[in-house]
Subunit: 396 residues, 4 copies
Amino acid sequence: MESPISNYLRTVLDECRGSDGGSIPQGNAELARADTELFGIALATVGGSVYTAGDAEYEFSVQSIAKTLAYALALDDRGRDAMAEIVDTEPSGDSFNEISLEPETGRPRNALINAGALAVHSMIEGTSSEDRAERVRLLHSRLAGRELTIDAAVHEAELAADDRNTGIAHLLKAVGVLGADPAEVVDGYARQCAISVNCRDLATIAAVMANGGISPETGERLLDTRHNRHVLSVMATCGMYDGTGSWISTVGIPAKSGVAGAIIGVLPGQVGIAVVSPNLNEHGNSVRGVAVFERLSRDLELHMMHVSPTGDSAVRTTADGDDEATVELQGDLRFAGAESILVALSRTTARALVLDFEHVRAIDDAARSLLQHAVDRLREENRDVTVRDPQSLMSA
Amino acid sequence: MESPISNYLRTVLDECRGSDGGSIPQGNAELARADTELFGIALATVGGSVYTAGDAEYEFSVQSIAKTLAYALALDDRGRDAMAEIVDTEPSGDSFNEISLEPETGRPRNALINAGALAVHSMIEGTSSEDRAERVRLLHSRLAGRELTIDAAVHEAELAADDRNTGIAHLLKAVGVLGADPAEVVDGYARQCAISVNCRDLATIAAVMANGGISPETGERLLDTRHNRHVLSVMATCGMYDGTGSWISTVGIPAKSGVAGAIIGVLPGQVGIAVVSPNLNEHGNSVRGVAVFERLSRDLELHMMHVSPTGDSAVRTTADGDDEATVELQGDLRFAGAESILVALSRTTARALVLDFEHVRAIDDAARSLLQHAVDRLREENRDVTVRDPQSLMSA
Amino acid sequence: MESPISNYLRTVLDECRGSDGGSIPQGNAELARADTELFGIALATVGGSVYTAGDAEYEFSVQSIAKTLAYALALDDRGRDAMAEIVDTEPSGDSFNEISLEPETGRPRNALINAGALAVHSMIEGTSSEDRAERVRLLHSRLAGRELTIDAAVHEAELAADDRNTGIAHLLKAVGVLGADPAEVVDGYARQCAISVNCRDLATIAAVMANGGISPETGERLLDTRHNRHVLSVMATCGMYDGTGSWISTVGIPAKSGVAGAIIGVLPGQVGIAVVSPNLNEHGNSVRGVAVFERLSRDLELHMMHVSPTGDSAVRTTADGDDEATVELQGDLRFAGAESILVALSRTTARALVLDFEHVRAIDDAARSLLQHAVDRLREENRDVTVRDPQSLMSA
Amino acid sequence: MESPISNYLRTVLDECRGSDGGSIPQGNAELARADTELFGIALATVGGSVYTAGDAEYEFSVQSIAKTLAYALALDDRGRDAMAEIVDTEPSGDSFNEISLEPETGRPRNALINAGALAVHSMIEGTSSEDRAERVRLLHSRLAGRELTIDAAVHEAELAADDRNTGIAHLLKAVGVLGADPAEVVDGYARQCAISVNCRDLATIAAVMANGGISPETGERLLDTRHNRHVLSVMATCGMYDGTGSWISTVGIPAKSGVAGAIIGVLPGQVGIAVVSPNLNEHGNSVRGVAVFERLSRDLELHMMHVSPTGDSAVRTTADGDDEATVELQGDLRFAGAESILVALSRTTARALVLDFEHVRAIDDAARSLLQHAVDRLREENRDVTVRDPQSLMSA
């Protein structure tokens, strides 16, 4: 059986091909040569499936989309406090080409506008611009699950048209936000923008972010859970420049676009999505890319605020006898799941209780702590509690 | 067993009592009389549990928190397009007391600043200010699950200090955003602000919003699913004024605060939370309220971007024989769940398939459509597919 | 001989009649009825001449032009320090319909935008709105040299469309800038705007301001010299809203426009000018009025920065003998004049000096003090100095 | 006799020495070494007198004060229209370190903020940065009346701390406002800032500007009259950054400050003033410099809006006989002077009229045209008009 999802994605591309208008920006000579008909999509789930349609294997430069992983990398290198001194986390309320430094501190408004991304890039550990860009490339490669390269022609074309970034970098230096040499930072940033990716890569990267930083493929943790959460939060409030509020209420998927025509979207707990089509609207976002995201959000009800109740399914079965009750747990246990288990436990009057963690996939600290408290209380009440925990999840 | 959650909430209140500073605003004579020691919390889950601690039953005026349900009501009355002509959905980047009208259209930036909330109130259907405020009161009562009242003393004190709102209402009239009489709108808005609630009420209301607009208690739909999603999106990007970006990355719970010292938070699919403590910080948010939310988010890992993978648990069991396979589904099926079912189906080679919906609680259109497509395909491949659907979920 | 100036003004009107475009604002029902062909001009010199052309006797409402004399009146009533707490003196950088309150103090940016003018009106002494407006009317009458009236129909039409001013007045009240009742202030301001004037009146008023506050007709002081100077300074930097910088460099005449289509210009030491033509451009200024001012400034070299050297002409004649020298002074002596007299005195070596003030018209404190110092010095050097001062100018 | 003016200036310095506070900016290593006790003043009249006190001969770098003559030079090189495409003439409403580009065109707000001054410098004709700076140096030398030099140490220290200007220059390049190479422009601008001057030089330069662009010393025209007027207008509305409105109403002298602690002031038709004292306030203006200007304006009534009536003194004498009348004219004849002559002429009924221009110093086009018209009219009325014009002023 071919998946109806692949089929559906093809239909969406066909129908969104009619979203005309926009144009290819002329600043970068390499980007300016893009084929306006290029149109691809990939959707990767946190379960590890990847679906594609159209030119999903076609490679282009990642551009501003790299701001997200570069931010995650700098957060890992320096910690959140040090990064907060360099860049704020507020929407700028400005268009994509505004500078938006805070009047008092000189901090860029957020890490996803150019000013912020330059400051962020300068904070990545490394001894040179090549070094820093190389580390960004490596992180992209790890999340994409294949070796990515930096497109030298795009990097050079970028440097040939870098007056704006050079200007911003010098201003950041002047206000004390940039420690490094401006030309170094602009060069490193231009390299980072020139990482070559396709839609499949970007969707795979997005799925790791949707999966809390863990590869759905290998189960390996690739991004710090709190830094991943932070980057997604900033994407949710600042990712689409001065139209982010409207994007979040309409599409509801934290996202980031790049000037080469790609948009990446991350719906936590569900999917990563990437679309590419080079013609951009006046906000600098791909015209067809926006159309596709609106369509997917509507058709598939993919929206940050449309989340399934997560508690109920935590209790797999409850076998309640007079003397002994068994509660089988399952899935990823977080606060709501733990709370529903507590409710189930409080309803049983059996003196002996078995709590079975065999089918639980993961448990976070909050859930573990609540469940441990409950077990302690029940034992204080002289109930006989047995914890079946073959994966030792409760002792982590 | 007393729930460890209640116990935990008491501990949080005790420890956050040390968050000093802030002050009671002096604008409204009734609010100015508030007891600075008042401190309560309630947490209501989408599973229907409610936990409280401190002064959770103490009543105060809902104030700006009513902007959220009033917005939902106006969206129901007029539809999203008509509302979009009156109020935008972008963060203002301004502090709580800015006016923030769009330069060209005069539209307030969003429905959660005063200018927007006045425009929204004027769009609620009704023949008078009493009428409109009464409908807002009724909606609050339905979601809170008990009859709420309007505090006449607060309403009067509000009118005695309404120069700012009167000013804004006249400006909105002047730019054509307000159809109604400014004094009428200000009066109706003042009544809406004076609805008397306690923390339990607010958390219960928030839990309905977290549950997609459906009462966890009765299973009744109380808010339109798309309008609820829209209001939550605006809370996520604009709810905490010029500090929303920082709030979302740190706390990660869409929220709204009121000048009486309450903060309401809605974590979709999980919980509704309400805290009250009258001293406000310079942003107009409760000092202790903010401390409590930061604590809860950290301790309980309650964060919009910290969502469990939702797909896996959709498949309850797969009994795969050579000739016949049975796939038992469960929970709330949405895109990710349906996708994981498709994956499970694609892995089985049995000619005869049973798809068992008995343990499914709900299914959305996207999931239903995908599963129907899959069943159709399998049948086209001459597989023998039986759908066990005692609740007729697939035929809705 | 008919003056070539009258003739010239007729030519200017004829040639500027071709400046088309613009429209009559529809806010005020009375103004909306204006005849678009109405076109008049008056030019009054500080020497007391008045030249007119076109519909110079046609009456219309003074509107925002009254902001200037109302400001002078409030400055007289309260003093400059008290006024500085209520309204700033900086350009707003905003268009004519912006509110422009200072973020920290709530002060309107200047007295010539509506917010500032409302605050200023509230500071005029008086027990009622009628009272305050009556005092503004009286001041206009005194400067115009005839009894002006308030047009009741315009006042009423103004009140029927006052949402914007009412809004601003309430906001000013809310931030503590307005002490009085907002409705009172809006009514008084509407009355002040409805004072009926013609071009001759406005040019005559402007000539008093150009003459340092003294009536060229009667020689009577009608405005405090420092307050007049202050009002003119604010006209120079803020009088034409967001186009003031361009106006001052191009036209170079401190000015103020009114929504009825008039523009008043004051060139200190030279002339007052008033033009009326109802069609307004997008900045709210009379299209033909602007064209006329540009023309007059260019043709007549009327520009604030095009000032004659003022020193030289202070010395009428110097009769320098070996033993006795006579220095005849003339004109209005200010610093530069006094300085040129000092230079003349320092060049003479005659032991006996006669300083003749007979032809001096006026002398300011700075000049008097310098000359007195010089006389004292010369006497210390044992020179024999005689001061002929039949008007006792030096002993004032 | 020592002039009481020199004496007065000494007193002012002594009394303003008490104006403490402020600090020396640390950006430029050469400036940072300045002696905080340095304090000098010079005052030069349009009559050619120069008065000094304190360290008036001490040399320092001209810094931002050079923005004014560089602007005049670029206006001469390119014309006003070409310059208007590069830089606007509006106050920025921003502090001295804002960038203030127009949202739509990218034009800097005015030529006196750094962004504007860099754009202006790039428009000066020349084949290199040395060339352009050399032409700015030459113009300063001509107006100062002595050969000025560029301080190489200051130029180098400037380049060592030029991140802000480099940033702005690249941004201007990016938006298409700067045609030249950013590094070239920044270097040329740094050279221009490093021109070495003393207070006497600056006051002498200012006196040329006050005298309409003509050297009071030699009578030679050094600046185009209209470009000089334009530069003075921009100084009046934008010269003191976000405090210009207040400066103009309080001090009333178009001015420009430099980071080395100097302030230059130009009062058209009267004087040029320069003060130096290195400690700067938070606006970047010399603390004592501001105090001195406030003092001079108050004591000497030096204020742009305090202008002597200019008409009256144009008529020297009127000898009115029955048959023949003689009108002796004098001074600089402009519109107001010509108008007062017309009035005098219209009052005489003598058939034969002698108009004597012997004592007239200068006459502008407007005055010449009006007087010619009058003579023509009188002759049409068969009056016998004789024009005594030994300097051929009327035939120019």
